[in-house]
Symmetry: C2
Subunit: 477 residues, 2 copies
């Protein structure tokens, strides 16, 4: 699979873990609902416990909506704590807050420890099944409260894809959706595979033209060093690596780390400091690039500049003892298994680089290799067309009540909905936003474009709700 298929996962876990500043104010009741392992057939009766979090402090039974977070690839508590926007506006809308965990993540394991052990168990990890779980949660709440409160779905990144798709598939259940940084078009035949890395490159170039040039030059220099034992020793020492580079395979891992660091930095290029595996400052790409201001320096000096820059990501506080470039070790207790498996079935998101229009090493998209790796690793064969078949691909004109928001600093915006589709599908472009900044809690450093976007969302939500209550009143007349 290489690093790239994991990038998307990293995005989320990193970003969602990024800030727990306001987390103490966020309280919720943890609940579990028995849901079918398989919603669309009757071949077995198996169910499992799906976790969801509820806060109804602000909720008005009569006129209050449900703000429903469509959980994505991680522990739902991370999303609950890091989707400050929902908490920020709950009182104003008298909304109930619900955060539903995605099956196969966090505590919602359909087959316990066996959940990832073979397709027989892991095969039920699909977006379609996850959305059916969410619908069950909503019906459960409607049943308990004895009122079918209108539901607005929220989601970021893959969770944003789900919030868009669940509105498309269940418009009777979901009144409308805010799909933030949701690359629903990052699939075969919808978006060029080169787009995401081009955007990352642009973000670095905007910080400093020399910055992207430095990175583009670095790969071959690393390769040259990496060919000899002396060179590898030099790299290991100057970068303070935890494990010495022993061969060219280790060198590939080292480069993959830098590649992913660049991608992540673009995504979390927020206007205020955030924490994740390690803390980063405000506008981290700018901070990184401040060290890479001259790509014409000799090779070893260039690598040293790169090291200083990347250290903003890997060792901002100076507390990191050594640099661990092994991606699999780098997950802070989170398991890649879920997203890795989804990448081997539905979530086939082609990515490529050419080293000319972007600053990365040339890397073609090869479906056959990708597929072979999946079959070897999980006995799962990716289906690159299934997302288009299920969710309509580029032809989503007939849907309504979806807000697609994208930040221009976000590499995933390239696979997002960036143009106006219809009068009832809203496209919001946030020039100064990285990956779903709009969903985070309000911060004094937020750029105006994010503040405006949030105001706009609230206006749209109000219109949806007014329309809903008007229509319901007519229906019950």
């Amino acid at each position: 699979m290489g690093g790239k298929s994991l990038v998307f996962f990293c995005v989320i876990t990193i970003v969602w873990a990024a800030s727990t500043v306001f987390a103490e104010d966020y309280t919720y009741e943890t609940k579990y609902l028995d849901v079918p392992v398989s919603h669309f057939d009757f071949s077995k009766n198996a169910t499992f416990k799906l976790r969801y979090l509820v806060n109804d402090t602000f909720w008005s039974r009569r006129k209050g909506p449900i703000f429903f977070y469509t959980g994505n690839e991680g522990d739902i508590e991370l999303f609950a704590r890091n989707t400050g926007f929902m908490w920020d506006i709950a009182a104003e809308f008298r909304a109930m807050l619900v955060f539903a965990e995605h099956r196969y993540y966090g505590k919602s394991m359909p087959f316990g420890d066996n959940s990832f052990s073979s397709p027989e168990y892991s095969g039920y990890l699909t977006s379609t099944e996850a959305m059916a779980d969410f619908v069950d949660v909503i019906y459960q709440i409607w049943g308990e409260t004895k009122v079918n409160s209108p539901v607005i779905a929220f989601g970021g990144s893959y969770g944003g894809m789900l919030s868009a798709w669940i509105r498309m598939k269940y418009p009777a259940v979901i009144l409308g959706s805010l799909a933030s940084s949701a690359p629903i078009w990052q699939f075969e035949g919808m978006t060029p595979c080169s787009t995401a890395f081009k955007i990352v490159t642009d973000v670095f170039s905007m910080a400093d033209k020399e910055c992207s040039a430095t990175i583009r030059k670095a790969w071959s220099i690393i390769d040259k060093q990496g060919q000899s034992e002396d060179g590898r020793r030099l790299l290991s020492k100057s970068w303070n690596l935890c494990k010495e580079l022993n061969n060219t395979k280790d060198v590939e891992t080292f480069k993959a780390y830098i590649n992913e660091a660049c991608f992540d930095l673009a995504m979390i290029n927020y206007p205020y400091p955030t924490n994740f595996l390690a803390p980063v400052p405000a506008w981290p790409v700018k901070a990184v690039c401040s060290y890479m201001n001259d790509s014409s320096v000799p090779d070893l000096e260039l690598l040293d500049k790169l090291f200083r820059g990347i250290s903003v990501y890997s060792n901002y506080t100076g507390q990191t003892k050594c640099l661990d470039v092994d991606l699999d070790d780098n997950t802070a207790g989170l398991s890649y298994s879920g997203w890795d498996i989804q990448s081997c079935t539905e979530m086939v998101m082609p990515m490529c680089a050419d080293g000319v229009n972007d600053m990365f090493e040339p890397d073609e998209w090869n479906l056959q290799n990708y597929s072979d790796t999946c079959v070897n690793k999980y006995k799962l064969k990716p289906d690159p067309r299934i997302i288009e078949k299920l969710y309509g691909g580029k032809n989503i004109n007939d849907h309504k009540n979806i807000i697609f928001s994208n930040g221009l600093l976000d590499p995933w915006s390239g696979g997002g909905v960036m143009k106006d589709i219809s009068s009832s599908i809203f496209t919001v472009i946030i020039p100064e936003s990285a990956h779903h900044l709009d969903l985070r809690a309000a911060d004094p450093a937020d750029p105006d474009s994010v503040k405006q976007a949030r105001k706009h969302y609230k206006k749209i939500f109000r219109a949806w709700l007014e329309e809903h209550y008007r229509t319901s009143a007519q229906r019950t007349k």
Copy 2:
């Protein structure tokens, strides 16, 4: 299960087999496509061969749509031969005709002879899976023809439900749908369980007020006769039954036959003679009721009138040697298994009668009994809410491009969409139509309301197609 859950199935098989007059003109290529047994999970790789029929004689590659019949509970060839409307207008629209078989019917058996043997095999018989099969067939055709021709879905009865639902779930694949006599609201909490039998009663009353009164009186008279051996012998003889009524259980079967005959007669109350298990004349209910014009006659005379009336259904040609009232024997080589199983999972359509507002024996709807029977018979537990969850129940306002047509003579119209929903969901009421008469081939005896309806459909199809080609042209600019 009793007779009632089977009624719906009978509807279809009977009606679709009703006329083969034009069948010789209808030619098609028979094809098979490998489709996944389970579209929504990756737990296994099993596929099976789904049958579909294609006629592209009239098709224009550049501007021709695909008219796609969403097969229902029976052999697809029956539907191809009996959906004359599609054939009638194919040349005019330069359309390709496709008739796709529903899994678990006809020749599309996922597990061969084992398909109905246990939930492990039968559990994949669901509407959702069937629609995913249809989408696969469309992608297959799009791939082969190298042009994504716009698709208009057609369907009657359960097939009409599928044609409506497939547009709701896959608007990017299905441009629009004609859902004829599709009782998508014949489910828990959407339509009173008494509606269908009330409509049957009205149809008989309209033919002759005394007709429904005769039938209403008959049940207790049959019961009275059925209590004694002499009475049962008398009934057996006067009705010329193939098997003598030996006990009160046999008497229940006898009554169930009459009950179902009445229901079927209302459904096939067409303006011209049709054939099915036996031929019936034009406007068969009128013919039946011509014998039941006085409900005040003595008991045995009333039963004789009923016998003469029902004979229009059971022995119109006079060729029937004896009357076989055993419903399970009455299927002309068709298997009930498929629909019987669907009735025990998703297709839980509550039906009841009170004997006051309708002419039938009082019969309450009892979900618990219904469910127990299913568990005993198939190890399957009906889920009475699943259709609402999946397809939105009464809240379908946000969908577009669906025509719901219903005949006022059709018992199933009570569970159909009979009121205007929105400007892009069309409701067409056909006063003089029984069960999906509009889908049948044009006939000189067709009432004006059916002719008008068909004209209206064509106008709507044209608007959909024009809009489609306009939008596609814009998109490719």
